[in-house]
Symmetry: none
Subunit: 361 residues, 2 copies
DNA sequence: TGGTTTTATGAATCTTTTA
DNA sequence: CTAAAAGATTCATAAAACC
């Protein structure tokens, strides 16, 4: 049976390069790949309360060096390019550990990058040790087979999916948790299962019903499940037998549905939250500015990092506002005021000014 | 005059590699770089031997220009690494055209990536032809000099700037427009002027007042203007004479905020270490005092040497705290409490009292 | 049954100082 | 140098447990 044979949902147990080598030239419409990230984690990481983080320490994610990882990337990306139709495109997802190397390798092989897409996680794991910024996103690279290639892009479908606004390169999508997360003996079946919402967008943007979609690192089978929902043909390659079983039963359970399935995740039009610090960064308020409450009973001063100082106590506008009133909580935006043209203006007015700026630029 | 000389705001007209070569080893605290990435335009790009890279129009040229760009990256990133202090860090900003190559080169040179940061543009230019997703972000890479290097990161200041939530790796910031945009004869003075909000965050996170900040591709001078506002020393290097003039007048106009407003929030790590025994020596706590955890599940007694006794086990507040919870570690300062006025007060409050005494007394 | 509190957990390159 | 001790550190969400 070939990839273009009678089984529209094919799962293959094997090495991705060897299995791709069996496919004819220019036979695949879309490739989505989630290769190992080369995380190389050290010891166990503990949360502040003492519990241990269940990290990725699998054998398949270990490489001896950057050179070894690059060689691995070249081999699977090279074979992928051969079997990709001229109208097809390739997506790869990764993090800062590997994505820069993958991107450079892509370019070296002649792929033409169309966009880099940011999966902005709405609920990422925090940085428990306070040593870095919360690693709150992953990066996807979308590329065509070459600079000249005429690739498929369903522009209007993407625009419709985004309330008739052109779809941007940053996508806010939650982690895969809850009922969607595949379980095996009550534990997560795969350490890095991707949310279906992410794949839904990719497949809807870059393929048609009946197209052949390939995932060379199948894992828990998200790509296959979404391909089936959207009426695409599919081929998935996976090395680990355990994951083959997980993916097979998952894709079996998936049902082709109407395109309204994503409706729920769209309505994100709330007023964006503004941290007080943003007003300092933009110069709407300056470090050193005195703040008062409406009746000028309390005074505090703004510091460069957005905390405010009252006596010897420093903290957020909310925390210090609550403290001076001896109240359990306080809305600093309405409590604190700054002087403007001789009268007091609540910080909330400044916040509105900031939001206006953000919109108009 | 050296970089550490008398002029705190130094602007140099020249090639960045040649000018960096004049600086001593380990002399710079923070480097922010916005290198050219116009692979197609040739103007910013020269091969190592000096010839100019032609426009890209066939496959051979493309490989040639990628190689030339990588060579260019290696040369300036290598020199930057030499002059960077062991506690310093480097930021580079770019887009999908160049950032993957820069990131791979960074790693090859031994830099250690700490985060990739997404500048999410609130008002990006749309994709007019409807051929791709709106390119709505740029990527910054933040890295330390090596895996082992202990870099500066003002974690608590970043947290304060974000309303007491850990700062994430995606930053929503508008494009630089309006009054902030530098003009020359009524037209924009520089094609890619970065918003000050972006640099404010970078400098506040990774430097201290008085630190030396270097920008090897000065452009319109945003890094210099923010460095001056925040009381950092600065050196900027720029090849184009026109931009030198723009940046010089801009930095001249910038005003430093008051010194005491530059104070930022510090964590407990920044405060002097207090041995528990010191509280006994000063009489803030007495031998024999009973200690409890917050829920009064465990009790221990203070001994004269600063160890505590729980049952038959004696040890430090940390060791015994870990032992009773059956945890791998424990912060005894926050775990143990003593009774005061009928309620429980954490030892941490007592430690603060001790520190206040040391300051005033 | 319903509302509140507690617990579990997610691709993580996750400490610093002293002996 | 290594080993041990001190001690600093978390956000959003869902499920489970508890009133």
């Amino acid at each position: 049976m070939t990839a273009t044979g009678s089984d529209p949902m094919r799962i293959v147990h094997g090495e991705c390069v060897a299995e791709m080598a069996k496919l004819p030239d220019k036979s695949v419409d879309l490739i989505f790949a989630d290769p190992p990230y080369n995380l190389q984690l050290g010891g166990g990481l503990r949360r502040p309360e003492g519990s241990e983080v269940d990290a990725v320490d699998d054998e398949w994610d270990r490489f001896d060096s950057f050179a070894a990882y690059d060689e691995f990337s070249r081999s699977w990306l090279g074979e992928a390019r051969r079997i990709l139709k001229d109208t097809g495109s390739l997506w790869v997802i990764g993090s800062y550990h590997n994505i820069f190397r993958v991107g450079a390798t892509l370019q070296d092989l002649g792929y033409w990058i169309l966009n880099d897409i940011i999966w902005r996680k709405t609920n990422p794991m925090p940085n428990f040790k306070g040593t870095r910024f919360t690693n709150a996103h992953e990066t996807l690279i979308w590329c065509a087979k070459s600079e000249q290639a005429r690739y498929r892009f369903n522009y209007h479908a993407m625009k419709a999916l985004n309330d008739d606004l052109q779809m941007r390169s940053d996508w806010s999508i939650p982690l895969c948790t809850g009922a969607e997360r595949e379980k095996l003996n009550g534990r997560k079946a795969h350490p890095t299962q991707k949310p279906e919402e992410l794949l839904y967008r990719v497949l809807l943007a870059c393929s048609e019903p009946g197209d052949l979609v390939l995932d060379p690192f199948l894992g828990s089978g998200t790509t296959g499940a979404v391909a089936k929902r959207l009426g695409r043909r599919f081929m998935g390659i996976e090395r680990e037998e355990t994951y083959i079983g997980v993916a097979r039963s998952r894709i079996e359970r998936a049902r082709q549905v109407e395109l309204d399935a994503l409706e729920i995740s769209r309505g994100r039009r709330a007023q964006p939250r503004v941290p007080f610090g943003a007003l300092l960064e933009t110069g709407l308020i300056r470090p050193g500015t005195p703040l008062w409450d409406a009746r000028r009973r309390f005074e505090a001063r703004v510091r460069a990092d957005g905390s405010i100082l009252h006596g010897k106590e420093a903290g957020s506008i909310h925390k210090i506002g609550a403290q001076v009133q001896n109240a359990p909580s306080c809305n600093g935006w309405t409590f604190w005021h700054m002087e403007e043209a001789g009268s007091l203006m609540p910080l909330d007015a400044l916040r509105q000014r900031y939001r206006d700026q953000q919109q108009t630029g």
